[in-house]
Assembly symmetry: C2
DNA sequence: ATCAACACTTAGGATAAACTAAATTACCTG
DNA sequence: CAGGTAATTTAGTTTATCCTAAGTGTTGAT
């Protein structure tokens, strides 16, 4: 009986915290207050306060001085936000002429304002896509998400041929650079050379040979097969 | 030099106040605190407080105990919100299968979140429409608005033929009723009979003869000519 | 001309979310 | 294992927006 509390609608801030925590805990580790503060561009003390509120609402599991993880409910909400964000990005790019480097900020605001109905209409209009324009998987309406075994380009061996599937960045300038270099998702590339010690690598792409720095290569997630 | 202050972005609340004041002052009269409170579903005291803040920001002209009007700047912002709202409604109906009775609430939230770029993209995608699905004129990007000489159906004389152009209501149930009665904008109707003392009237529409109450007829704005 | 009713404003308080400054805890290093 | 550093939390303040309660202004009816 006490199980399903009547949940009052979350604030924008709360939604942003949950999203950020979701991202930070992708690796399985709890998210630290400072990391969260950095991700959200807030003072650590502000984050401590919000962590307390969200924990009281049952959305976070907080071990003081140890960090936070999402509860099942918190995770459900985070995935809903992620779905919204990625469906919106997909729709804006496909139907309203947005480019993949400018679409993030718009989606960041809209994701807090759209209704579930609108998200589903947009998804349906696009044929329920499984990935967004950056190659990121779009969680389903029930929270299930395609999990793909991608390898960062920075870890592909010399001689190997892979396909760029996903670009792990929201930075507009970086995304434009990647597009200009002809390394968008779907591009087949072969590693020609790799320098050690996080040095640059050389890849052959349809657009020609490119020298790619290690940090950038680490953001280009690739697959060997057709997916 | 002091003329153009750097204006920090308005809050959602402020935008809603400006919109409501715009509507209430359409007739030329100043808007009273109580009317505003009713329109926004807030306590009058809260409205007094916000009026003070918005006046200090130069968006309202407030005569204590006499009501408020918009300044030029306040009006500019209100028209921008109105454009957003009506462009969004138009887009959702045209492209995402919304019906005219459900679209209002969605637009009400989105109008605070969309960028100018997105609004213009949506408008362009629809060929820059001049009216929204309810027949309300959409202000231009520069604030100019088509002003049409419409007559409420409730004031059309017996025997006269007019075309419904605009429905002045945001209430979903009422809008559904109007659609069911076949009286959406664009419909040609002839007044067959009118009862006095705000009584019902009978009109002939393509869908058949309809008896329309006075209050509803007052919401159906009509024109005689092609517009 | 007064006063009751209503409209409006002021005063004071609550909540959410941010901040800074100060205190506390954890952990690594020597 | 003591101490220092970095991470975290607590305490107290600020801003925006709402509230209720109380006080003030306006006005129409007698």
């Amino acid at each position: 009986m006490t199980a399903d509390t009547i949940r009052e609608p979350l604030t924008r801030s709360s939604e942003d915290y949950l999203k950020a925590i979701f991202h930070l805990t992708q690796g399985g580790e709890a998210a630290g207050t400072t990391d969260l503060a950095q991700a959200l561009d807030l003072a650590p003390a502000s984050v401590s306060g919000m962590i307390k509120r969200l924990s009281e609402q049952g959305l976070l599991a907080h071990e003081p001085y140890r960090g936070v993880k999402l509860t099942a409910e918190g995770r459900r909400i985070a995935l809903r936000m992620l779905r919204r964000h990625r469906v919106i990005e997909s729709y804006l790019v496909a139907r309203l002429d947005y480019s993949w480097d400018t679409v993030h900020d718009e989606a960041e605001r809209l994701e807090h304002a759209v209704s579930d109905v609108l998200v589903e209409r947009m998804a349906a209009a696009l044929g329920n896509p499984l990935v967004d324009p950056h190659g990121d998987p779009i969680p389903g309406a029930n929270g299930e998400m395609l999990e793909l075994a991608h390898v960062p380009l920075s870890e592909v061996a010399v001689g190997d041929a892979v396909v760029v599937r996903r670009v792990d960045s929201a930075d507009a300038a970086r995304l434009r650079y990647i597009a200009d270099a002809g390394l968008v998702p779907g591009t087949a590339v072969t590693v020609v050379d790799r320098q050690p010690f996080r040095g640059p690598m050389t890849v052959r792409a349809p657009s020609g040979e490119r020298i790619v720095g290690h940090d950038l290569a680490a953001l280009l997630l690739c697959s060997r097969g057709p997916r």
